[in-house]
């Protein structure tokens, strides 16, 4: 019987650092989650948070704060961050573009337009706004993705055609969104702007379950193609020469990513920067092996959004700073630091 090894980069020589990196990220993620639940207008001691989470006896008020208010928000940060990190990595890989993310393909802009349309139409719709807004965001994210996939397919599955199609749609949806903002009442305009900032405070257990289900469906599907993504990372032609059906893989991956992104942005609004930066950090830490990178990018995304949520609470106790603002203002300097410190050609 053959001896098996996990055999990660270079015959396992870098196995230990890579797995250590993943474990470290997981540990940090758990710590960040606990701190995020503990933080808020009324700070809770960590042991009380742990007691509440493990079902030990705590005051009823504490249990309500933990389970009904803060935990859904903290978990939403994790799940949305993971979904955005994962989708960003797959987009960057299959499109050979380090700037690819749900923004590049116009998915977020589509979702934003959908949400804004419902906000403007308001009471004329048969559904309550709390249901109609995420539903419209999800649907328009899907429409944007379908259009990009259609353009790419029509052009023979070339990476550039997807990117160009996505950029065209981005400008189209942004223009339509600007039109809606121009026409909207002051109240609707305020609601649109707040939605576009991105906020975790729309989280609830049913929404969490939906995002978790989408993530649980998409992650294994993507992991199944991990080796093919690694091959595609070399170049299209090289992947073809290794037996990968590149146009089919690209189309399939982007369809899965569309679902992930749509589910993520529908409930929290447009949080763009995580999908761009998380894959780069994961690649910086873990290398190019997609068996590690896929979970790594998801972990990085989750950690980034969780830390941003935490930071937002610490910077402005009692205020609800939209998470999209925190991720960009804190993430950009960190990202630039990584770029400046990396070796030439690494980005």
């Amino acid at each position: 019987m053959s001896t098996l090894s996990l055999a990660l980069p270079a015959a396992g020589r870098r196995l230990a650092p890579a797995v250590t990196g993943l474990l470290l990220m997981t540990g940090l993620l758990l710590l960040s989650l606990l701190l995020d639940v503990a933080s808020g207008p009324s700070m809770l001691p960590l042991r009380e948070v742990v007691a509440a989470l493990t079902g030990s006896t705590v005051e009823r008020g504490t249990a309500v704060i933990v389970w009904d208010i803060r935990l859904p928000v903290a978990l939403m940060a994790l799940l949305v961050g993971a979904a955005l990190g994962l989708s960003g990595l797959v987009m960057q890989t299959v499109l050979h573009n380090p700037l690819a993310s749900s923004y590049t393909l116009g998915v977020s802009a589509g979702a934003g337009f959908g949400a804004a349309l419902v906000i403007v139409l308001g009471s004329t719709l048969p559904l309550p706004e709390t249901v109609a807004v995420p539903l419209a965001a999800f649907l328009f994210a899907g429409i944007a993705c379908s259009a990009v996939l259609g353009i790419g397919y029509a052009k023979g599955g070339q990476a550039d055609s997807y990117v160009l199609g996505g950029i065209a749609l981005l400008f189209l949806f942004q223009a339509l969104l600007s039109l809606l903002q121009y026409l909207a009442s002051p109240e609707a305009l305020q609601a649109i702007v707040f939605w576009l900032f991105g906020s975790l405070y729309k989280a609830s257990w049913p929404k969490l379950a939906l995002v978790a289900a989408v993530l649980a469906l998409c992650l294994p599907l993507l992991l199944r193609d991990a080796w093919r993504f690694t091959a595609l990372g070399l170049s299209d032609e090289r992947a073809l020469s290794l037996g990968v059906n590149v146009p089919v893989l690209r189309w399939r991956a982007l369809a899965i990513v569309s679902l992930l992104t749509g589910a993520a942005v529908a409930f929290v609004g447009t949080i763009g920067f995580v999908g761009l930066i998380a894959p780069h950090i994961a690649r910086f830490l873990l290398g190019e092996d997609q068996r590690l990178l896929l979970p790594g990018a998801a972990l990085c995304g989750a950690l980034l959004l969780s830390l941003s949520s935490l930071l937002g609470k610490w910077l402005s106790p009692g205020e609800l700073i939209p998470i999209g603002i925190v991720t960009a203002t804190v993430g950009v300097p960190f990202f630039l630091l990584l770029v400046m410190r990396s070796k030439p050609g690494a980005w």
């Binding site: 053959s2 055999a7 270079a10 015959a11 170049s235 032609e237 290794l242 037996g243 146009p247």
Partner: protein, 253 residues
């Protein structure tokens, strides 16, 4: 045995290859020669299954479906000409991808050992832990050749495998290709620009010009000044070395 009959290949509205018929035998290296734009790479990609074509192509007695293209035939090992990549994958992992079809989540010790042996065969053992983006173009080409050979193909299709290599590595690669072809009974078709490399290492030659096959046969019969001059548009001289080998050199005016 690879048997092509009346192959026609079009890219968009442009006909790139017309009425190509030839045979390539196992255990032999067939050199594919011709000027730039004559259709060498297109023919190689068609044989690999990557481009759709009209006509018939038989491999080991069985007809191959030429209608769709886009998918490498399982028996093929295809080395593209372009070896550029920004990947930070290590050499060992890159070569391992040669076994892509059989790789599971875990990689067996046997698979790792096969990679090491392949790297050692091509003299690349010292590069195993290096990243692809840190290598020279020639080194990368060698790594990708190792990747192709690890697939253990029965039909080996190499597009200019020595064009980026120094003399020592050119000899090493072509000797390896010839050895593997003989030992494993491979059918090898190699695009070359170096006529003397074709003379030294190829058993047969396919000579293309403007998308048509203008000559095919044994290397020594085809690679003569009289055949080559009209194809390449230059006067070519043939000389013989003290060891009895032929050398072709263009007239430098």
């Amino acid at each position: 045995m690879l048997h092509a009959q009346h192959l026609h290949v079009s890219l968009g509205r442009q006909t790139v290859l017309q009425d190509i018929s030839f045979e390539a035998r196992p255990g032999e290296v067939t050199a594919l020669l011709g000027p730039n734009g004559s259709g060498k790479t297109t023919l190689l990609k068609t044989l690999a299954g990557l481009l759709p074509a009209r006509g018939q192509l038989q491999w080991q007695g069985r007809p191959r479906n030429l209608q769709h293209g886009g998918q490498l035939h399982p028996s093929c090992g295809y080395l593209p000409q372009d070896c550029s990549t920004r990947s930070r994958l290590t050499v060992e992992d890159a070569v391992l991808l040669g076994r892509l079809g059989t790789l599971g989540w875990r990689v067996s010790t046997e698979q790792r050992e096969a990679v090491r042996q392949q790297l050692a065969t091509l003299g690349l053992a010292a590069l195993a832990g290096r990243r692809l983006c840190e290598l020279s173009g020639g080194q990368r080409q060698m790594v990708f050749l190792a990747q192709v050979l690890l697939r253990e193909p029965s039909l080996l299709l190499l597009d200019e495998p020595i064009s980026a290599l120094d003399l020592q590595h050119q000899v090493q690669v072509m000797c390896t290709v010839r050895e593997q072809t003989r030992e494993r009974g491979l059918t090898s078709v190699v695009v070359l620009h170096d006529l003397n490399a074709a003379l030294a290492y190829a058993d047969c030659v396919l000579l293309l010009r403007q998308g048509r096959l203008v000559a095919t046969g044994n290397t020594v019969d085809i690679l003569t000044p009289a055949t080559l001059a009209p194809v390449f548009g230059v006067t070519i001289h043939q000389a013989h070395t003290a060891t009895g080998h032929s050398v072709l050199c263009p007239h430098t005016g």
